[in-house]
């Protein structure tokens, strides 16, 4: 067999793409959903019906201040998230070890909103970059990112010669393999700049985990268990100072942070820091103004300067897209879904090419069942997560944990189902059943939403229509793919 650059790159593209692709689909799909994490949280908390651009009053700030002071006296480390266009509530939050939880205030009246406990859209965000495995998960995500870049480069090498003719003569209805390949090429090339940008900036966000600026040997030494510093313990016993009125401090911070809106406020026993909002521009900074307590005197302004720091801030800003207006965020979402579709079609192509020669092998069957559980199992578990949120009683204790349990349980069941079907060589059955389930759960999402939270649907129609519409879209795609599977089987 003659080895050429193209065959060598083809092997690299196929195998690296398949191995990394199984996880990359999960990362891309949840990343695309994370673009609308705040909106998903609002969908999952129908009790919160504060309209966008609700004015922030001194009454609300005072109510939040008194709660913050009470919690500080009890030793909790809290922060205050200020209202924005996407999240119009005033949130007093703290970290409970898994997520940020706390009290939501109406910015107009200062009354607390009895919103249900939920993992919300931030669940997709944390899944996207940690795979629910903490630092180890983030490291894995980074490695997958580099492997994806390798896959893209090798893909460009193998397709570059016939790229233009292949795209011009799209043969989607030709032979199955040719059709899938053309679809893979067309979608892949269409979003190639976005895909490269989002993977590269994503790896850069946690670059220190993959390329630490420490000796290489430190990668192989076990991490030391951190003991809490004694000064921190002392700090916890320091009595927190009473908080001054926040409105004048916000005005001062806005003036000193070059007119940028404030995003959140961190509180220490003797001072508070007002941070510039991530939505104020493409530079994702941690610029802040510090004020002493209890007098509220401006202590200092911290800003980052320098072209390299600004470059890094732009890289972060481009990845997080928190500055992006609604239309740009939709573009991110659609491009993310196209990236997911490229990887998904690549996985299917990899299996199709090897089915005739290796279809009977156990390795192939494991690979195919993993592909089914990724491509259809993950959407099922995402939809099950959303259904679980609306079906569980709003006042139920530990309902956020149950939501995660439902998500993981549904995924494990899908994997088990695909594994069982593959052991009996009935893979089409696994695809069809799971596609049907997506259609059922996705298509039923608007109905569920209207039946369980009619007031929220009426109060915030845009958010509910968009998320229910995405469910319907998933159902339509699943039904179409199922139809194609059936017509190919005949």
């Amino acid at each position: 067999m003659r080895e050429t650059l193209r065959t060598r790159m083809g092997w690299l593209h196929g195998w690296a793409g398949f191995v990394a692709g199984l996880l990359a689909v999960c990362i891309f799909m949840t990343g695309s959903l994370s673009v609308f994490d705040t909106e998903i949280t609002r969908w999952m908390q129908p009790e919160n019906q504060v309209p966008a651009n609700a004015p922030l009053t001194d009454t609300a700030l005072n109510a939040a201040s008194s709660l913050i002071h009470d919690q500080q006296v009890r030793g909790a480390s809290v922060f205050l998230t200020l209202p924005s266009v996407r999240s119009p509530t005033l949130d007093v939050l703290h970290y409970d070890g898994r997520q940020f939880v706390g009290t939501l205030f109406d910015p107009r009246t200062g009354t607390s909103i009895p919103a249900r406990a939920t993992m919300g859209g931030t669940f997709f965000f944390s899944f996207h970059y940690t795979l629910l495995e903490g630092i180890t998960g983030t490291r894995i995500v980074n490695i997958i990112g580099v492997v994806l870049l390798v896959t893209i480069i090798s893909g460009i090498v193998i397709h570059i010669r016939a790229l233009v003719p292949d795209i011009v003569r799209v043969r989607l209805s030709a032979a199955r393999l040719r059709g899938w390949l053309d679809a893979h090429l067309l979608v892949g090339v269409l979003v190639l700049p976005f895909t490269i940008m989002i993977i590269y900036t994503g790896v850069l966000v946690n670059a220190g985990l993959i390329l630490p600026a420490t000796p290489l040997t430190s990668l192989f030494t076990p991490e030391k268990v951190r003991t809490p510093p004694t000064s921190g313990m002392k700090a916890a016993t320091v009595m927190p100072q009473p908080l001054p009125p926040l409105a004048p401090l916000l005005a001062t911070a806005r003036r000193d942070l070059q007119g940028r809106d404030a995003g959140f406020i961190l509180f220490s026993p003797d001072h508070l820091s007002i941070y510039a909002s991530d939505a104020s521009g493409p530079f994702l900074t941690r610029d802040h103004a510090d004020f002493s307590l209890p007098d509220g005197r401006l202590v200092g302004i911290t800003t980052t300067s320098g072209s390299v720091a600004h470059t890094m801030q732009v890289m972060h800003g481009l990845h997080y897209a928190r500055f992006a207006p609604l239309d740009l965020r939709w573009l991110y979402f659609v491009s993310g879904l196209c990236g997911t579709a490229t990887i998904a079609s690549g996985l299917v192509l990899f299996l199709m090419k090897r089915r005739s020669r290796s279809g009977h092998r156990i390795g192939f069957r494991v690979g195919e069942s993993l592909t089914v559980s990724t491509l259809t199992g993950l959407p099922i578990s995402i939809l099950a997560f959303l259904w679980c949120n609306h079906l569980l009683p709003a006042s139920m204790a530990g309902r956020d944990r149950l939501e995660i349990g439902c998500f993981l349980g549904a995924w494990i069941l899908c994997t088990g189902h695909a594994g069982l079907q593959s052991s009996g060589l009935r893979m089409n059955g696994a695809w069809k059943t799971q596609l049907c389930l997506i259609a059922l759960l996705g298509g039923g999402l608007p109905l569920l939403d209207i039946l369980t939270c009619p007031r929220a649907v009426y109060g915030l129609p845009a958010i509910h229509a968009a998320i229910d519409g995405i469910g319907m879209l998933a159902a339509a795609v699943a039904l179409y793919v199922r139809h194609r599977l059936e017509s190919d089987g005949k």
Partner: protein, 91 residues
């Protein structure tokens, strides 16, 4: 005849797996040394950030280059040697 072809295919697959492992093992230290060389530029964390930006852009290219052909492998090794020497000179 078919046995020969099967053996050929297995040998080829084994060579390719060894090739990608070797490419990763060589490319990662090269990218790391490039980052450390740039990190030595005065300016504290700025150098590290610049080093990470450049090294992470290079890493996938180095892996593909290293895997593509023998000449690529030699080129990446040579680049690694230059990076190590530069690091020694700077420090």
């Amino acid at each position: 005849m078919s046995t020969d072809r099967t053996e050929d295919r297995i040998r080829l697959a084994r060579n390719r797996v060894a090739g990608i492992l070797l490419a990763s093992l060589i490319s990662y230290p090269v990218a790391y040394f490039v980052m450390m060389d740039i990190a030595h530029v005065p300016g504290g964390t700025v150098g590290i950030q610049l080093g990470q930006i450049m090294a992470l852009a290079c890493l996938p290219v180095l892996i593909v280059l290293c895997f593509s052909a023998y000449a690529g492998l030699l080129g990446v090794c040579a680049a690694g040697c230059v990076a190590v020497l530069a690091g020694l000179l700077i420090s």
